[in-house]
Subunit: 284 residues, 2 copies
């Protein structure tokens, strides 16, 4: 039953399984929640994905991903808004708990981070009414500062919460330990996020030493230096008792292993390394 606190972000087994195969493989391990990426949903078919989810009583803890707002021109920004509305529709169709936003970095040829950050706030503001109408919470995921240029110019939990405070209801944060573990203000900002009911997701993996690739060398929980249990304790203390979602990009290790081994290892490490004794899972 404690595995009900675990969700598999399907990026973790993207090289091994289709979405349908991943659902079967998760259930075989006792894992009852997933978070797919849009390309995986598209490959499976949107309606077919919704059917698979329903038929298997899977929980969908998030759809990855909307965002990518900063653009070099108005047409690009408009295209991003339209695409994010489609992502909201897809998230609704598959019954996701939230749409995760990776907000985007600098537009081509730009060095103006401040302008990019304004475009992000404007972009989230532009889709928020549509998200509210459709009761789809938007989860801004602050990404590690090493992705500021090319993936997300929201790089700390504090910064993400500032944007949330600006925009009001219907938007919160996805706290991925990989992106925020280093932050000297992490614990204070987790408390802040909890106090304003902004925590929508908790993603886990580990930071390896050494890290050999900026994007594709994430570690399995327990193999790195992140104090997963302390962070979880802070998140629960802040009032969030939802699932922990494993998201591991690992081109040279986990993506090369049998999917069954990866899922079994995630389940085992979740229980031994991430899960608190007194953990309860809510929001189901």
């Amino acid at each position: 039953m404690r595995l009900r606190g675990l969700s598999m972000n399907l990026a973790t087994v993207r090289e091994q399984y289709t979405l349908a195969q991943a659902v079967d493989a998760c259930l075989a391990q006792g894992i009852t929640a997933i978070a797919p990426w849009r390309d995986q949903v598209q490959a499976a078919g949107l309606k077919e994905t919704a059917s698979i989810v329903r038929a298997n009583k899977m929980r969908v803890t998030g759809l990855c991903r909307g965002g990518m707002f900063p653009a070099a021109d108005k047409a690009g920004f408009k295209a991003a808004i339209d695409d994010n509305k489609r992502a909201i529709d897809e998230a609704v169709t598959i019954g996701a708990d939230c749409l995760v936003l990776v907000v985007g970095g600098l537009p081509k040829e730009s060095r103006d981070l401040r302008a990019a950050r304004e475009m992000v706030a404007d972009g989230v503001a532009a889709i928020l009414p549509y998200a509210r109408e459709n009761r789809m919470p938007l989860a801004i995921e602050p990404l590690h500062p090493m992705y500021a240029a090319d993936r997300a110019c929201i790089n700390t939990l504090e910064q993400a919460l500032d944007v949330c405070d600006l925009l009001g209801d219907g938007v919160g944060v996805a706290i991925d330990v990989y992106h925020v573990w280093w932050d000297p203000k992490l614990y204070a900002q987790i408390a802040r996020a909890g106090a304003s009911k902004r925590i929508l997701a908790h993603h886990i993996c580990d930071w390896l030493v050494p890290t050999r690739d900026l994007l594709l060398d994430r570690g399995m929980m327990g193999d790195g230096v992140i104090d997963l249990r302390s962070i979880r304790a802070a998140i629960e203390k802040a009032g969030y008792h939802g699932v922990q979602e494993v998201e591991i990009f690992s081109s040279e290790n986990w993506w090369k292993r049998p999917g069954e081994e990866v899922l079994a290892t995630c389940a085992e490490r979740f229980l031994t390394t991430c899960c608190l004794q007194e953990q309860s899972v809510t929001g189901e």
Copy 2:
């Protein structure tokens, strides 16, 4: 004359030149300031380095590096303190403007960043009286969060300034654009650093997109996405008009090129990309 605002951190040409050769090569380009690493000084000999510097009237904008305080046990911490005092002696001998501190990351087997950060504050406090006696300013260099585990657990300018405020006089910060450019609070913290006279050094290079290696893929100024001129303007507005020191670790590009080409490119890019029109250089 505008090249008097430029210093070469000798890591930039470490594969091409000994310290003595680097000084000659710098002077040939009109560059009159350097910042060596301790291994380079050791290879040249400490007294010999001091002679070379004096004979050539070079300015030494910093010695890299002290720090590395967090240790697994008391003996390790004591060894770090002793080593830092030797580094202060060396910095004094070669007439460096400051000793740059790369503070260290997690001790082996530790996941306790908070404890590591306390050891850093304790370590700087332990060497500060000796640094003050010897009139050697200590420059804490906040390192990019991607180095939190293995190199430095001080990862933002705000955090470094908090440590400075705790410790009082004789300690400040080295602002390296590579480490801080992404920070949403950068400009506010530069102003804060200036107001408390904490800016001791300004290091430059660029952030490449994509970045292929966490440590050794820094870019030449102008080749990446850092808004060097805006950051410089903020630093000057904050009251620091000292040199800009080029520090580029680049195993696959600049370390493989002829040293003369590297230095000439640094000088040219400094003038075209980093230097403000109204720049003046003081503190000489």
